[in-house]
């Protein structure tokens, strides 16, 4: 395809979803993905499922255990699924210091991107997430947050009501398993909800008890999930099954088309002609397999004939590949969005074909529109490498600012006594299992400062299994020089250990940003992304406030004499522990001087360009962003289709 309507850079939840809806609507679409299609050779091996003796190996018909390799997926360096070889980022805590190369802030480099190796924690945002500014203004905390602590907390230009129909579709495409009524109840029974629910803006924020049922029943509860469930229940925290982007185990498979039909007919269609179609004009008759709880999901590749783990590869990209007007190019590393300064339009993308990384081949894809979806670290990097010296669309120095990464590392770790050896079964299913919203806002009941008595933003608590015994043992060997019995003791303890993690907001600050490192370059001589990040007042306060809350989950077990306080350790977030929850950096907003994209994710300064990965997030929620980024890609795609139907040139 020499001249496409759309070239989409990146194939994860944002790029993989919007490319599907645009192609399905009839546009010519080219998707450029820097990573390889890891699934293809595995699917080919499934097509010939003979064992070494030449007999039919029935066990491998649906699932391929080749990726069940902890070394390859957790320890090997370079890690081919997390970044291209020769890629890395640099990090510093302050603009006053020099950044140094580090091994974090990875960007998935496989077809399907981060949606292939995500943990499947499939939340939709809560209505309050879209209007935090309004909230903190009403509670009179905004001055503290912005003037004293230096945050910039905007409301989203779109609200929950506008997102809701797309959330319904996103959850349907992702086959989210869960119990909606229980989730609604858990939210409404939380102390913070009771505190705020009578306020008018809070009620107006959106529907707090959505009726749309999750399309799959709840994921089965595991012992690790049960530990949290029982403990949180005793603490009054209203735990529920974690909504998960997996075809529920024990079901007969997942017919996406039928689920779409039900969703649209019973719960309303998103506005726009695209959604007036019948379900058979939206989706194929493909049936996805149920999860077999093999346990190799988070950060592993779940491959089968019809992947049970949801992500763009098992959903929209699979559909996209059926279409004659769409093309997916893997091993295509974009390095410049071509720009015509006279017309202020992007004209295409320059990229390297790195199918042989030793012999990269420069190539060009021209297009009428360019959609960037490389993740909130790599998208600003690409934009800053493109266009005028200051970067493409960066006339107001906004690209890369307000970077958000969630508070990874924040949580408690509990090690049960030896009689629990072999009882926790961390190998069942995905990493998380049960969750609670009780900590979405946390009241300061422990300090004597001006923050006391007020509610501060945090996030969701989730039970987390320890699933990687090799990675743990290797870490103890390398990090603590353990061998012999001390190493075996640590390996035994790991089997009895679990975590309660807090997926919590880090609020946006302009000084937390991604830009081009002035010194360090990648394998092909391009500047790597430099990340500047520090914690602000809300995060530092959060570390104090949440420890007691998290420890309460274990009170039941301490009272029963199962755990001692010393068996429970609290971990603060680690400032450079930057994982896959990357947000901000191309903020969405109505004001071009303080944001990069408008409410439809179109760049203010380059009207034929869009940014649809998590970069557009004005704030980061206290939960996994995947469902929101998929829902938003559907929303933006629908808008583009409608504008086009009305004959409007988007530029």
């Amino acid at each position: 395809m020499d001249n496409a309507d759309f070239v989409v850079i990146g194939s994860s939840g944002g790029g993989g979803t919007i490319s599907w809806i645009l192609a399905k609507a009839g546009f010519n679409v080219v998707v450029l993905e820097q990573g390889s299609d890891f699934g293809q050779p595995l699917e080919q091996s499934l097509a010939n499922p003979l064992d070494q003796s030449g007999n039919l190996d029935a066990a491998s018909l649906d699932y391929n255990p080749l990726p069940h390799d902890e070394y390859r997926f957790r320890l090997e360096r370079p890690d081919p699924k997390r970044r291209l070889r020769g890629e890395y980022n640099t990090f510093r805590r302050s603009s006053a210091t020099e950044a140094a190369p580090f091994d974090k802030a990875w960007t998935a480099s496989v077809l399907g991107g981060g949606s292939v190796i995500w943990g499947t924690w499939a939340f939709r945002a809560l209505p309050i997430d879209f209007c935090l500014r309004t909230h903190f203004a009403a509670t009179k905390q905004l001055d503290k947050l912005e003037k004293e602590w230096g945050y910039s907390i905007p409301d989203w230009p779109v609200g929950y009501a506008e997102m809701e129909p797309y959330y319904n579709v996103a959850e349907t495409l992702l086959a989210v398993s869960g119990d909606r009524k229980a989730v609604n109840q858990a939210v409404k029974q939380s102390d913070w909800f009771k505190e705020f629910s009578r306020r008018p803006y809070f009620k107006k924020a959106g529907k707090w008890d959505p009726a749309f049922p999750f399309p799959c029943p709840p994921y089965p509860r595991t012992p690790v999930g049960d530990f949290f469930y029982q403990g949180a229940n005793a603490a009054g925290f209203h735990p529920v099954a974690l909504p998960s982007g997996m075809v529920a185990p024990g079901t007969s498979g997942y017919e996406t088309r039928a689920k779409i039909q039900t969703a649209l007919n019973r719960f309303g269609r998103p506005a726009g002609s695209f959604w007036k179609r019948s379900a058979d004009r939206i989706w194929s008759d493909r049936v996805r397999s149920a999860c077999n709880m093999c346990g190799f999901c988070g950060e592993y590749l779940c491959w089968g004939k019809e992947g049970p783990k949801s992500g763009s590869l098992s959903t929209t990209i699979k559909e996209l590949r059926d279409l004659p007007n769409a093309e997916v190019r893997t091993d295509a590393k974009a390095y410049e969005v071509m720009y015509d300064s006279r017309t202020r339009r992007a004209t295409g993308v320059r990229y390297l074909d790195i199918s042989d990384p030793d012999k990269p081949r420069a190539a060009v894809q021209k297009a009428r529109y360019v959609i960037v979806s490389c993740g909130a670290v790599q998208s600003p990097r690409l934009l800053l490498m493109s266009g005028p010296p200051a970067g493409l669309g960066n006339g107001n120095d906004q690209i890369g600012r307000y970077a958000l990464f969630h508070l990874f590392g924040l949580g408690i770790t509990a090690t049960l006594p030896p009689r629990f050896q072999g009882v926790l079964h961390g190998e069942f299913g995905h990493t998380g299992n049960t969750t609670s919203f009780e900590s979405y806002f946390v009241k300061d009941e422990i300090t004597a400062s001006d923050t006391a008595g007020l509610w501060w933003k945090a996030g969701t608590m989730t039970s987390t299994a320890k699933k990687n015994p090799l990675e743990n043992a290797d870490g103890k060997l390398r990090g603590k020089s353990l061998i012999q019995r001390p190493l075996l003791t640590a390996m035994e303890a790991y089997n009895r250990t679990l975590e309660v993690r807090l997926t919590a907001d880090d609020l946006p600050m302009a000084s937390n940003r991604v830009d081009l490192d002035p010194t360090y370059v990648d394998e092909y001589g391009f500047p790597v992304a430099r990340i500047t990040r520090d914690f602000g007042g809300n995060e530092l306060l959060m570390f104090k406030l949440v420890e007691a809350k998290l420890r309460k989950v274990c009170d039941l077990y301490v009272k029963k004499g199962i755990l001692k306080e010393t068996d429970i350790t609290f971990g603060q977030a680690i400032v450079d522990l930057i994982g896959d929850h990357q947000m901000g950096t191309c903020r969405m907003g109505d004001d071009p001087t303080t944001s990069v994209v408008d409410r439809n994710c179109r760049m203010h300064e380059v009207p034929n360009m869009f940014v649809v990965d998590t970069s557009f997030f004005p704030t980061g929620f206290g939960l996994n962003p995947m469902v929101t980024v998929v829902a938003n890609a559907l929303r933006v795609g629908t808008w583009i289709v409608e504008q086009s139907k009305r004959g409007r040139d988007l530029s």
């Binding site: 640099t90 012992p223 072999g422 015994p469 394998e523």
Partner: protein, 235 residues
């Protein structure tokens, strides 16, 4: 790899973990699975039961191409813009206010596994080749005093305290034994050696770890596990 070196490595692996003493501890967790042949009377449980050395030799062969990548990284360290597709990458950098002297920082970022003394990424095979003569010397010196205490030797190597392995030598004995123990852990816990079942999973079984390549479970399995867990909890 010579038979003598294989023998040394098998014994060193045994000394690194002390598996036999571990499974024979009277208070140790007893897995419910049967049979547990490595626990049978008269058997000394050791890493060689899991065919770790053939696995290790395969690992050396499989990662030998890392040397070529190391050479490429070294070329980039000398000339970081060597493989740029841009017509004039230095002018491009100047126009964007970037430094005149770029650096290739992949080694500093820890995105490579093994490096030599000069910080040059190397393959496993190259890394270990420098270690074998020193290890043999250290073992031969021990043999002159009688049977080798492999656990003591492992500790000496880990703490750079072996007199036959000079502390100025690169790789250090600690770097060697840490890498070797890491590769042995992959063999013991990675489920990919040629040992037959249940031997291949022996260490995982003794740990109470049920993770297996090709696992599959049903909701009934998890429900039964939760029931058992709650019973142990006393709920």
């Amino acid at each position: 790899m010579t038979p003598e070196l294989r023998d040394i490595l098998e014994n060193l692996a045994a000394g690194l973990f002390g598996l036999d003493a571990w499974v024979k501890e009277p208070t140790k967790y007893t897995p419910p699975e049967l049979p547990l042949p490595w626990r049978e009377t008269g058997h000394t449980f050791a890493p060689k039961d899991l065919a770790v050395i053939p696995f290790f030799e395969n690992l050396l062969r499989a990662s030998s191409s890392d040397d070529e990548l190391g050479d490429r990284w070294s070329a980039l360290s000398a000339d970081p813009l060597k493989f740029s597709p841009l017509a004039d990458p230095r002018a491009w950098r100047r126009s964007r206010g970037l430094a005149d002297a770029p650096q290739f920082g992949v080694v500093k970022s820890s995105n490579v596994w093994l490096v030599n003394a000069e910080g040059h990424p190397v393959s496993r095979a190259t890394f270990y080749t420098a270690c074998w003569p020193l290890l043999k010397t250290a073992v031969d010196a021990k043999k002159t005093h009688g049977p080798v205490d492999w656990e003591a030797l492992a500790r000496e190597l880990l703490t750079n305290a072996n007199g036959q392995w000079p502390s100025t030598q690169q790789p250090s004995s600690a770097a060697f034994v840490t890498q070797f123990a890491s590769d042995m852990l992959y063999a013991l816990l990675g489920m990919r050696t040629a040992a037959p079942e249940p031997w291949r999973y022996a260490v995982l079984i003794e740990l109470g770890e049920y993770r297996r390549a090709g696992n599959r479970y049903t909701p009934q399995d998890t429900a039964a596990a939760v029931t058992r867990f709650e019973k142990v909890l006393g709920l």
